[in-house]
């Protein structure tokens, strides 16, 4: 798309969307958001990029093959699920670690659930880009 305005706008928006998508994913456990929403938002950033600057640039910006990202995401989510079994629990049992937890404050929670959500994010992100890039290139 040979539009200066769009290209420039995209430069800001894409980054904005990406940052914003992380934000949405991380807060997901307590407020609206989560892996899907994050992944979808992040993906739209690069979709916009692809529309504005073409898929070559978008792929270059992404560096990694989107389908690889997706598969890794699946792997991470799977690991997060199986990880629990290492503690003798059932699969997909959340394992929590509260950094700096005090009696009144849970501190900074770190959990397999979060990992799982990250996996979800990557899957959605990677899959949508796989699809959109391929289609952009075909059309």
């Amino acid at each position: 798309m040979n539009s200066v305005i769009l290209r420039v706008g995209t430069r800001y928006l894409a980054g904005l969307l990406l940052v914003f998508s992380f934000y949405m994913m991380l807060r997901g456990h307590n407020e609206p958001g989560g892996g899907f929403i994050g992944g979808l938002t992040g993906a739209t950033g690069f979709v916009l990029y692809a529309i504005a600057c073409g898929t070559e640039d978008a792929r270059a910006a992404l560096r990694v093959l989107p389908q690889t990202i997706a598969i890794w995401g699946l792997g991470i989510a799977l690991f997060a699920g199986v990880f629990a079994a290492a503690f003798g629990d059932a699969l997909f049992t959340g394992q929590w670690l509260f950094i700096g937890a005090t009696d009144d404050d849970k501190g900074l929670p770190l959990s397999t659930v979060l990992f799982f959500d990250i996996g979800v994010y990557l899957v959605v992100f990677g899959s949508i880009l796989t699809l959109v890039f391929a289609m952009e290139e075909e059309v």
Partner: protein
């Protein structure tokens, strides 16, 4: 704009101190950081940063004023039975250079009275503007260049 970067770092530091990871924390951190930097200005040497910020604030205010104005103007035309609009497409030469500048100019023009920026020529020299009330092209052009574009250039490119 390394001063700006410094300011950001200060904001983050503030967040770290207070431990409240929220936009509020970040903003307050930024504000306090800005104040701090302004105080220690002599140490970090003169920078356009501070004037730039004032320019930004001015731009934002002006812009909102324009936005309301434009909306009212269009609203009038919408509500009145006969159209007063005299649409025309005007080519406006661009002085602003940077991408950000161009983006801002076009966007702001789109959001201000009677004009809608359609396209920027490939050479980034001219901007196609659709004017709703194009009785006098020159007037419109003059208004745009001394209004929006100047403010933007001041804010973005720091020229005075």
């Amino acid at each position: 704009m390394n001063t700006f970067g410094l300011n950001i770092i200060l904001a983050i530091a503030w967040v770290a101190f207070t431990g409240s990871v929220s936009l509020t924390g970040l903003i307050t951190g930024f504000a306090i950081g800005y104040g701090a930097l302004w105080l220690i200005q002599p140490l970090i040497g003169t920078s356009t940063y501070f004037s730039r910020v004032t320019a930004w604030i001015k731009l934002i205010i002006m812009f909102h004023y324009e936005l309301i104005l434009s909306s009212l103007e269009v609203a009038m035309d919408v509500l009145t039975p006969r159209h007063r609009a005299r649409p025309a497409v005007i080519e406006m030469p661009l002085d602003v250079k940077t991408d950000t500048g161009i983006l801002l100019v076009t966007n702001l023009i789109s959001l201000t009275p009677g004009t809608l920026s359609l396209d920027v020529s490939e050479d980034r020299k001219t901007l196609l503007v659709h004017a709703m009330f194009a009785d006098d092209h020159e007037a419109i052009l003059h208004k745009l260049k001394n209004g929006m574009e100047r403010w933007v250039i001041e804010a973005v490119e720091g020229a005075t």
